[in-house]
Symmetry: C2
Subunit: 414 residues, 2 copies
């Protein structure tokens, strides 16, 4: 629990109030002692919501609850606890979600379906939702505009630093803001899972437009990162628009061209917030000492490029080589070849830190090793792979695989 | 290099002569000093051969050479070196294969296409085939019936123990023998790759029948094992039949039923040899302290069962939990769910060491922890997963993920 802060940590940015969002955190003693572990995020009436959830076929009860609630497209409240994931808990897990949502709905004077719940922590233990419900009145009374840092800290499990990002954008001539918080670092302590992200904006955007932008944005950010290839049972990203900003009305989906033009700047800022948060999660990957960026070009198509990049990012041999500061291009070749995607040894090039080391089926004769060695000693490592086959490209991010990963995940659970 | 012998090692079995096979090993100084590193295996004229090779799209030059030679269906000689994989070496790599095969063919008085070559070790360095060719006459002069152990040791890279298996079978009323040697332990030292297996029999079996049995046998043995999910660029399994045993003639492929009946006992013994060797490789998995068997039942179909079993076997979180002797069924549920295969949380059961711990979407109330804890402390761990969906089943084997894996693979290459 008292893990040292990741060497890749970034400072929390300044997080100004966002019209229509109030936040609070308190200590409910669900698992941790002496720290906040429950967070409430209340949004203005009429707020629209979009969500993206884990693809794991054994999702937690809160994921099921959110998926069902999302159909309404409206949100008033998000309640999050840390320390217990409420996953694989059967009927008790479903009951915990509905009891929490009902109690929160009474405080917000809304339908339970407008309350979204999220939990991360131990899998397979019943969530003591009485403690959670008992904490709700205090949370409601202490809601405030400046609760962002408290919220970012209250959702942490074994994250080593709080994660947030904020950007501004214009819609028409009106400035709007997008602010998000996230938690996650793989499954850093035994049984602890996993990634949560909550993004808010004061823009007034219909739920369907919000969902389209979020789905696309997650594809290019969170879905392009991996710490250990283990997809959690709790992953949740919610995007909520409070509609408090006074910008021109977003055109309906019928006029898709106009809608796209008006939201272009917003979409760009949203993508930046999502990528910023996703990379903060990788920076807090369990045991991470280095952030690794993998650029694949020249693949048959973009899907193939991403699969190849992910095969490299998830290769334990590549990840241990990075930990050892070894620019081991042979292992990168191996990982490209095992991906199952089209690859031709004789058109393949591999580079590290901007230096091509292997090209056209053999090592580049006399390539300059000095800059490569220096690059590998840094905190951020860049791997380039060109397949020489087509125009497909993709970028993914991961971290190295170190002894700390084994320490964190190989200790006894109880 | 001086790694301690795996705690999961098994002793080398007694390996009697096999009619039509002579073996030798010598020290050619290709990379290692003070140990044998080149092996010759000569088989009787008329021997048939079958082969299965890596699916990696960036295979080594020797794999390309063997694939091409296999079309002839005949073998007279196998030459193997350790320490240099001859992978990603361009034209120099192809030249090394053909020079070695041509020189060996002269000694055996056969076509170069009847010489099979295999190399494992460093990727991306040109194989000094002059040293290899210079060693061939000595190897040829010292060929003998009792060279099995020398051959099993000579093909090792950073394996911690030599690997061999032998069985007898009957064809008609005639006894035949099947003996195989293998090497591999993942990629235990930086850049070292990977899995080689050579199996011989004195039976007289047409190449097409040999190939069919080998392909099926590898599917149920080597292809059901994983150490670190990283598919090497050199994996090679050869099966050679010398035809020296005096059993009734194997019927042609036209009479497939009769052929199958006559080879039933042989096939069973071959499968046992292949599985025995495959498990020896897992027992020598880098850093392995425990051998893990994963039985999946109740899946939609056998392919789905295997994919689920492999997702569990390759999950770093499951593997570190096993290393920590933690029967962490929550991580097993996660890995099942992330496999992408049909799974239903509410019909899923997970057991360890014969005790069902999770069933129907929740923990089994009051299950007996004592036998589970005791089981996890042993050297062999059994995980059972029942999907409750259909009749598909599969079994795979892996090892745990320990600090030694990081030590072995995270050190500097040079």
């Amino acid at each position: 629990m008292a893990n040292a802060v990741s060497p890749l940590a970034v400072p929390l940015p300044e997080l100004p109030p966002l019209a229509g969002v109030r936040l609070s955190a308190t200590a409910a003693g669900i698992r941790y002692q002496g720290r906040t572990d429950v967070v409430m995020m209340e949004v203005a009436p009429g707020s629209t919501v979009a969500g993206v959830f884990t693809t794991n076929k054994c999702p937690g009860a809160p994921v099921d609850w959110c998926r069902a609630s999302l159909k309404g497209g409206k949100a008033r409240m998000v309640v999050v606890n840390a320390g217990n994931a409420n996953v694989f808990t059967g009927k008790a897990g479903r009951d915990a979600c509905s009891a929490t949502a009902s109690a929160a709905a009474k405080l917000a004077d809304c339908s339970a379906k407008q309350v979204f719940v999220a939990s991360t922590g131990v899998i397979g233990e019943v969530l003591p939702h009485d403690k959670l419900v008992a904490a709700l009145p205090t949370l409601h009374e202490t809601l405030g505009d400046n609760g962002w840092e408290a919220a970012a800290r209250g959702i942490m499990t074994t994250d080593t630093f709080p994660k947030a990002a904020t950007r501004t954008a214009t819609i028409g001539d009106t400035g709007v803001r997008i602010t998000g918080i996230a938690k996650g670092s793989g499954m850093i302590a035994p049984d602890m899972a996993t990634m949560l992200c909550f993004v808010f904006t004061d823009a007034k955007i219909p739920a369907d437009a919000l969902q389209a932008m979020l789905s696309k944005g997650v594809e290019g950010s969170f879905n392009c990162t991996t710490v250990d290839s283990d997809t959690s049972t709790s992953d949740t990203v919610l995007l909520i628009a409070t509609g408090q900003a006074k910008h021109p009305r977003i055109p309906s989906a019928d006029d898709n061209g106009a809608r796209k033009r008006m939201l272009a700047d917003f979409r760009k800022a949203l993508d930046e917030v999502l990528l910023d948060l996703a990379l903060q999660v990788v920076r807090d990957g369990e045991g991470a000492q280095k952030l690794v960026r993998i650029d694949v070009t020249g693949a048959s198509n973009p899907r193939s490029a991403k699969k190849i990049a992910m095969a490299v990012a998830n290769s334990p041999l590549v990840k241990t080589a990075v930990a050892g500061e070894d620019a081991n291009w042979g292992r990168i070749v191996m990982a490209v070849g095992k991906s199952g995607e089209p690859a031709n040894r004789d058109t393949l090039s591999v580079g590290v830190g901007g230096v091509w080391m292997a090209r056209e089926g053999a090592v580049v004769p006399g390539y300059d090793e000095a800059p490569v060695v220096a690059h590998m000693k840094g905190k951020e490592v860049e791997i380039a792979i060109d397949l020489g086959l087509g125009r497909g490209k993709a970028t993914v991010w991961t971290c190295d695989l170190t002894h700390a990963y084994i320490d964190i995940n190989g200790s006894y659970r109880s």
